[in-house]
């Protein structure tokens, strides 16, 4: 573990840029800390903190000068790998029939952008989210080539959390506040009476290659100890907790619990929770023709299980009630994801709690179900 000074952040950005990475990092915009391209370290939201609660987010000044003194905002890293709108291919009418152009899943496709992305400031919960995205998009039998191309060339600079946000519960999900692999470089920021600094850990050869160019010295034991304590402080100050003991079974056994009716009375089915979730991966495809019928495009867009159309099959939508839609989403994250992928689909980032316009909190819903468990019914959807 090395110690690097604050000034090394600028060096890190420039080293990555020299290696042709598009440097994506936290930036303050429209009253929120989002992720977008930055040119230099002065664009980072230094000395700002986001104060989060259910249905509430506000950026305030910090007393110290921390670079990463904030938590996670409304953007997720998935938008760079799995864009909200993406053209899969287009079909051109010809004299004898038609031809297909720009097939995003063909090996010789040249329109998948060849950007090399560097994600800077990825929180441990989001590092785990990327691992979950990998399972869905590239590790299974159906590989999303556009995702894979970007993912393979990507560079991850993780940042361990030394403060927990108001809606955070990564400790419950076992994903943070310290990153456990899945990065090229990992920073722990330490602030105090003196000017702050970072402790640097290397997670890959690519990371080691970049780290070589950063001015550093070995961290001394007291600095390491401070880092351990700071991360422990984050662990003990989580804004939320979610008891995961038998969580999968408990939800599967309580599909008729009255709490689903309670939450459905509040749920707007607006889909915000799924849009801000770093692991929600659902999409739909639209075939778009032009007026003349000469070209047609197949476009993939983000979709959500909270829309009526999402569950539309011949004859109607399976999940017509808000109750069935909310239950589908939450039981997928915390129960059936385990059946499907062997781990929870929730990383405890708390975005769905903060960005719900009416402050619905899945940890509260889970707690209400746990406190008054019902006898089970068989797994069936109400129509």
């Amino acid at each position: 573990m090395e110690r690097i000074e604050y000034s090394a952040i600028e060096t890190l950005l420039q080293v990555l840029k020299r290696r042709d990475y598009v440097t994506l990092a936290p930036i303050l915009r429209e009253g929120a800390i989002i992720y977008d391209e930055v040119e230099n370290a002065s664009q980072l939201p230094r000395a700002f903190v986001d104060v989060q609660a259910a249905g509430s987010y506000r950026v305030e000044r910090r007393e110290d000068n921390a670079y990463f003194g904030h938590h996670v905002g409304p953007t997720t890293w998935k938008k760079f790998l799995f864009p909200p709108l993406f053209e899969l291919f287009r079909v051109i009418r010809t004299a004898s029939g038609f031809r297909i152009e720009g097939d995003a899943n063909s090996e010789n496709h040249d329109t998948v952008p060849q950007h090399k992305y560097a994600f800077i400031g990825v929180r441990p919960c989001d590092v785990q989210a990327l691992a979950l995205n990998d399972k869905v998009f590239q590790n299974g039998p159906y590989v999303d080539r556009a995702y894979k191309v970007r993912r393979e060339s990507m560079f991850v600079v993780a940042v361990n959390c030394t403060e927990a946000g108001g809606t955070c519960f990564c400790d419950s999900m076992g994903t943070g506040p310290k990153a456990n692999g899945g990065y090229d470089l990992c920073l722990t920021e330490l602030t105090g009476d003196d000017e702050g600094f970072f402790l640097l850990e290397v997670g890959s050869e690519r990371g080691a290659d970049v780290a070589k160019e950063l001015p550093s010295r070995p961290a001394d034991p007291s600095e390491r100890e401070r880092a351990v304590e700071a991360i422990q402080r984050a662990r003990t100050s989580m804004g939320r907790t979610l008891q995961t003991d038998r969580l999968r079974e408990m939800l599967a056994d309580n599909l008729d619990h009255p709490e689903w009716d309670n939450v459905a009375r509040r749920c707007l089915t607006c889909a915000n929770c799924t849009m801000v979730c770093p692991t929600c991966f659902c999409s739909t495809v639209e075939d778009v023709t032009d007026l003349t019928g000469a070209t047609a495009r197949r476009v993939r867009t983000w979709d959500s299980c909270f829309t009526l159309e999402f569950s539309y099959i011949h004859g109607g939508s399976i999940r017509s009630t808000p109750k069935s839609r909310y239950r589908q989403w939450m039981t997928h994250k915390l129960s059936r994801w385990v059946d499907q992928f062997g781990e929870y689909g929730c990383v405890g980032c708390g975005r769905c709690i903060t960005w719900c316009p009416v402050g619905i909190d899945l940890t509260e819903v889970a707690r209400a179900i746990r406190e008054r468990q019902h006898s089970s019914i068989t797994l069936q959807e109400e129509v």
Partner: protein, 259 residues
């Protein structure tokens, strides 16, 4: 091979401001393509030349507010293979449906010198209350790209891609930061039908609900949240009383906050 005749397109106006049908003229770059694919058979805003019906596609703008129009819409329906309503007036009664909450005779007595000559129905009602409608395109005004999408879909015999999700999905897809959660102005986005591309939120304004309620709009929950933040009954009422005041979900919600 015999040249296929071009489908005939007609545009009809009822009680409205003309803004929606002007969206068709507003297509600019695409207008020639539209003219190339259809015969514009009846569109007084564009041309005095009127071709006889029947019409393959009729676009109907405006709401039904007079006994005369209540008859005329049946003639339009009989002359049209496909009838598509465009805009908040035609799909929900429009801004003029604010009269539905009051006594229209009272307004007439104040506004007109000789109110006895005014023949107005007690309520402004959407087209679908009177005749069968094949497709309803929402908005005040409609989005021209959505209009082109609906026309393309009907010309090529496919389903229009007009999602009925909330405006929030459009906001998030565009990367617009949520004003509701960051303490911006009141926003009807979570209960409003998408289609505008999150126009107002992209200018840091709350959604005014121009596209009407989304499916399963839970206005009660949103109002309860706002009431908890200090919004008065009167403010709650007026949030839902605008271009789509008579759309069922917005009407019921505003009525729940009447004194």
């Amino acid at each position: 091979m015999k040249q296929q005749r071009k489908p005939k397109l007609a545009v009809w106006k009822f009680a409205s401001c003309d803004g929606c049908q002007l969206s068709l003229l507003d297509c600019e770059d695409e207008l020639l393509a539209v003219a190339g694919e259809v015969e514009i058979a009846n569109f007084p805003e564009a041309s005095r030349a009127v071709a006889r019906g029947p019409y393959d596609i009729s676009l109907v703008e405006g709401s039904i507010t007079t006994p005369h129009d209540a008859e005329r819409i049946h003639q339009v329906r009989r002359a049209s293979k496909v009838l598509i309503t465009i805009g908040a007036c035609a799909t929900a009664g429009g801004i003029q449906a604010l009269r539905n909450f009051k006594d229209v005779r009272e307004f007439a007595s104040i506004v007109y010198a000789n109110p006895a000559t005014i023949e107005a129905l007690a309520k402004s009602t959407p087209i679908a209350d009177h005749v069968f409608v094949d497709f309803q395109l929402r908005g005040c005004p409609i989005n021209k790209y959505q209009l082109l999408e609906v026309l393309s879909a009907y010309l090529h015999g496919r389903k229009p891609n007009i999602p009925n999700m909330s405006v929030c999905v459009e906001c998030k897809q565009r990367g617009i930061v949520c004003g509701l959660v960051t303490h911006g102005p009141p926003c009807l986005g979570p209960v409003t039908h998408a289609g505008c591309g999150a126009l107002c939120p992209s200018y840091h304004r709350g959604c005014f609900g121009c596209y009407g309620p989304k499916e399963a709009a839970n206005t009660g929950s949103l109002s309860a949240w706002w009431a908890g933040k200090g919004m008065t009954e009167r403010e709650l009422l007026w949030n839902y009383r605008n271009f789509n005041a008579y759309a069922e979900a917005f009407r019921k919600e505003s009525e729940a906050h009447e004194e």
